[in-house]
Symmetry: C2
Subunit: 200 residues, 2 copies
């Protein structure tokens, strides 16, 4: 059985819980509290020198970091990752978009708003983070106005990657009122068989 090292409050970790729930597969879960230094211990750094969760650990001890790489690995051979070369490229495209143009704004705005004290200096970052978050959401809205899910209209790991932080964007002061296509897509994902909400 696989083990997932993760933190429940992290959207990057929730992605994997969501995929595993859809797949209906059991797994071990090991809580790692990165907010209290548990990703910086010698034991954890031996598994992932980059000091981040989530981390996948196979039964034979091999480990794989990076949430979106793990999603692709676990979804191989399932309906959540196409075998078609072009559709795989589209899937990856949205996953790289998520990690570069979306998560650093949507997730970080949520972190600063929800985890740091109101007088923390990083609160000053929020206006710029929210502006960039809305730029990412506008790109998503335009795409989702044309199709139900990001890749060929079928629910895939690209949707899971983008859903993880998008559905909690309002917690970072990034409202979704102006994005009807995104809100419809969120509702479609939450109606998928096996869907589980994020535990916090």
């Amino acid at each position: 059985m696989i083990t997932i090292h993760g933190m429940r409050a992290s959207g990057n970790c929730y992605k994997l819980q969501l995929l595993m729930a859809h797949l209906g597969q059991p797994y071990h879960w090991v809580d790692v509290d990165s907010a209290h230094g548990e990703t910086r211990t010698p034991q954890f750094l031996a598994k992932n020198p980059n000091g981040k969760v989530p981390l996948l650990e196979l039964a034979d001890g091999r480990v794989l970091p990076e949430s979106n790489a793990i999603l692709c690995y676990l979804a191989e051979g399932t309906s959540f990752l196409s075998a078609d070369r072009w559709l795989r490229a589209q899937t990856l495209q949205w996953m790289f978009f998520e990690q570069y143009s979306h998560e650093p704004y949507v997730a970080v705005a949520r972190f600063i708003s929800g985890w740091l004290p109101p007088d923390h200096p990083r609160q000053l970052e929020l206006p710029r983070l929210r502006e960039r978050a809305h730029q990412a959401l506008a790109v998503m809205e335009r795409e989702l106005a044309q199709r139900d899910f990001f890749v060929d209209g079928h629910y895939s790991v690209a949707d899971m990657a983008l859903y993880a932080y998008t559905h909690t964007a309002p917690a970072g002061g990034v409202e979704l009122h102006d994005y009807p296509a995104i809100r419809g897509w969120i509702a479609r994902i939450e109606a998928q068989p096996g869907y589980v909400a994020q535990q916090s």
Copy 2:
């Protein structure tokens, strides 16, 4: 024939020039000067709503953004992207590491140092960017002390993705003196058949 829309000074665009040179395949190149707004024109945004280069355009008009998704697409079926499920996951892991933990520091330090005036307010970001860049380089150094290339010891698109900005890190004030394994890896890449240097 494929078309690559890109800017020669961009490491993300250079990744694709490097892969195509190794593959020995011809392609059209269209210069897009993102520093002068050419990724924000209506014509370009119709192709890539995220307003970034590089952008791959196939002969039939289909387009694909995101440098690392393009690398994977173009390398499919070649020695630069393994067909093995675990090794593909490793490849993706390093490519997501590159876009999340490496490029936003190594590339942005180079941009601020080389393209913005000395009195620009973003110069204040440099100490933190350089610190994070060195954290990423330390992760790479540890890996490259154990193997010649990132994935199973074989030269792959993961190496090309990480090489693009690593070899120009000193231009951003991020020196490579303390990373002998990285310097050896850079030399190995530059000795590969078909290697081309970045044009600027």
